[in-house]
């Protein structure tokens, strides 16, 4: 089990945007949420961690191991990722889609074994979608689709799960379901769950750690109770917000 994810002088840019994080340590076996305005670099940061965009060596470390020096399959066994949007061309069955999470363990010229199939079935069970195996992905609701994709990262057997806006487009019930699942993954399975979120209340109430980003940089990070205050929110979002404690949780008024 990994102990820490360290970011040191990470820099990655597109035409008119640059992500630049000098120093950040993310805790393992916890739920960390990354928040910030649109275009703050949250998704780009996840992509860097996931290895789907090229980052320079000596910038991302897992327990001191440089992630950029790992082979793709080796990295995928440590870190799994669900992008913000998935564009599926073919309408696969749920179990076939979850099974794809095993790709790092299977040679390009081979097919999944019984063991891979069991792992995929167990992942589906864990997210509460037992009985959905032969359903087609297109027939599922947005909430169920999210759960299938989380099951796929689970089938990947990686310690670190990166979920890019897993609750967008979900109704409150499904939003809570997904966030509870994230907590369960951290608590029961010891996974490190890193999510980007737009709903601040969800982030505050469901994460162990929060990372606030603005214009490609980390503005603050830490436990919600310790770092969260109105002036930080105003700095990050450029609007005034008020935080009100209620029933052990926090409500944020805009």
């Amino acid at each position: 089990m990994a102990v820490s994810i360290d970011v040191r002088e990470l820099s990655f840019g597109y035409k008119d945007f640059r992500l630049s994080i000098d120093c950040l340590r993310l805790e393992t076996r916890k739920v960390t949420s990354i928040v910030g305005r649109n275009g703050a670099g949250k998704s780009t940061f996840l992509k860097c961690l996931a290895g789907v965009v090229p980052v320079s060596k000596q910038s991302l470390f897992l327990d001191g191991r440089d992630l950029a020096s790992l082979r793709m399959a080796e990295r995928a066994k440590l870190i799994s990722y669900v992008p913000q949007e998935i564009s599926l061309a073919l309408d696969y069955r749920v179990l076939d889609l979850v099974l794809m999470g095993r790709a790092a363990f299977i040679s390009p010229f081979s097919v999944p074994s019984w063991k891979d199939l069991r792992t995929a079935e167990e992942a589906l069970r864990f997210v509460g979608l037992e009985g959905f195996e032969t359903r087609n992905f297109s027939q599922l609701s947005s909430g169920e689709r999210r759960l299938v994709l989380i099951a796929r990262t689970l089938a990947q057997s990686a310690e670190i799960l990166l979920l890019d806006e897993p609750t967008t487009f979900l109704d409150p019930k499904h939003e809570i379901e997904v966030m509870n699942l994230c907590r369960k993954l951290a608590l029961d399975k010891g996974k490190t769950v890193i999510v980007t979120l737009h709903n601040l209340e969800t982030a505050v109430n469901y994460s162990d750690t929060m990372v606030f980003m603005k214009k490609g940089k980390v503005v603050a990070s830490g436990k919600p109770d310790e770092v969260l205050n109105s002036s930080l929110l105003e700095q990050v979002y450029d609007i005034r917000m008020t935080i009100v404690p209620h029933d052990g949780k926090k409500i944020i008024f805009r």
């Binding site: 992509k47 290895g51 564009s87 790709a103 999944p112 297109s138």
Partner: protein, 336 residues
């Protein structure tokens, strides 16, 4: 119960091309009765046993029909498999073997040989070389851009158009006799198959077909977005090139000896996906089996339908297009 039925059907589909090959040996202008078919085979294996059959049977079956049927079997499997793999790889139901410039590359190669080079440089070899040149050009021009799949497809269209223009240029300069043989080559035909041609093209097709069938599950993962496939540990660029390489090799080998045969690579994969759904673990092997069967049946029709032989490329289009229209109307939604 349904599962059992599906299994029996699957076994039947895989046996179908071989049964059809056997049955088709007796079909043709010169009828060979089934009982003589068995006798001829036995006599060829062990010449001293069994009752004598006319020696003409041996010539017809083993020198003319068997190579032709083997070519139909392998080329049908190759064209269908190549279409099915490339459609999954490029996440697009309209992709076929024409898209990477393979067909027009081959056509130009054959034209060059038939019109200018003559017997020194056989059409089959020229077709094979130029179809691979076309694919290489597509891959080199499309380069390392971010949206690699789209740029490969667009470059394929351009390279195809370029080779089509070169083909027209050769046709313009050709004398009437050369033009006629080129015309027939372009319509596709299995009738010229000889063991000598097949000795090169069949092993190439066999290697590519086996490799793509082995990669059938990987094609599921490669049909996801590049980002997702990468995050699952797949070296997308390398594996995409491998699939393109095998698909190009088998299409080039098939086109080089059989000419341009359209529609197999589009219709059969669609039919198979309608039957079994999206999972390439089932789609790929079944596409190979049904593609082989379809081309054998098409070839049988060209031999018996008229007193002259209808070019197979025309037949696959004439039968294929109405069939495709029916398929589209009844289509189960497999593509999103």
């Amino acid at each position: 119960m349904q599962n059992k039925k599906a299994k029996i059907l699957t076994v039947l589909f895989f046996l179908l091309p071989f049964l059809l090959t056997l049955a088709s040996l007796s079909i043709g202008r010169f009828h060979v009765p089934p009982k003589d078919l068995a006798r001829t085979i036995i006599q060829t294996i062990s010449p001293s046993t069994g009752p004598r059959v006319p020696t003409a049977y041996q010539d017809i079956l083993f020198r003319i029909r068997l190579p032709r049927l083997l070519l139909a079997l392998m080329a049908g499997a190759a064209l269908s498999l190549s279409g099915a793999s490339l459609q999954a790889l490029f996440k697009n139901p309209l992709v076929n073997e024409f898209i990477l410039g393979i067909s027009f590359g081959a056509a130009f190669g054959a034209a060059l040989s038939l019109v200018f080079l003559g017997k020194n440089f056989p059409a089959q070899i020229a077709a094979f070389i130029f179809s691979l040149i076309a694919v290489l050009a597509v891959l080199l021009i499309s380069g390392r851009s971010e949206s690699h799949t789209i740029s490969i497809l667009l470059t394929g269209v351009i390279v195809s158009a370029f080779f089509q223009a070169l083909l027209s240029l050769v046709e313009f300069f050709a004398n009437p006799y050369a033009l006629q043989s080129l015309f027939f080559w372009l319509l596709g035909s299995l009738s010229l198959a000889t063991w000598k041609d097949l000795s090169i093209s069949l092993p190439i097709m066999a290697v590519g077909i086996v490799a793509l069938i082995m990669m059938r599950w990987r094609l599921n993962v490669l049909s996801l977005s590049d980002e997702e496939a990468k995050s699952m540990g797949v070296n997308v660029r390398r594996e995409r090139l491998l699939v393109i390489l095998f698909a190009s090799l088998i299409t080039a080998a098939a086109t080089a000896v059989a000419g341009v045969i359209g529609w197999i690579g589009l219709i059969i994969p669609h039919l198979v996906r309608m039957m079994v759904g999206a999972d390439n673990r089932k789609v790929i092997p079944l596409a190979a089996a049904l593609g082989a069967s379809a081309l054998i049946i098409a070839d049988d029709i060209t031999r018996v339908a008229a007193t002259f032989e209808i070019p197979i490329g025309i037949l696959t289009s004439i039968i294929g297009i109405p069939f495709f229209i029916i398929l589209l109307r009844r289509s189960r939604k497999v593509w999103l």
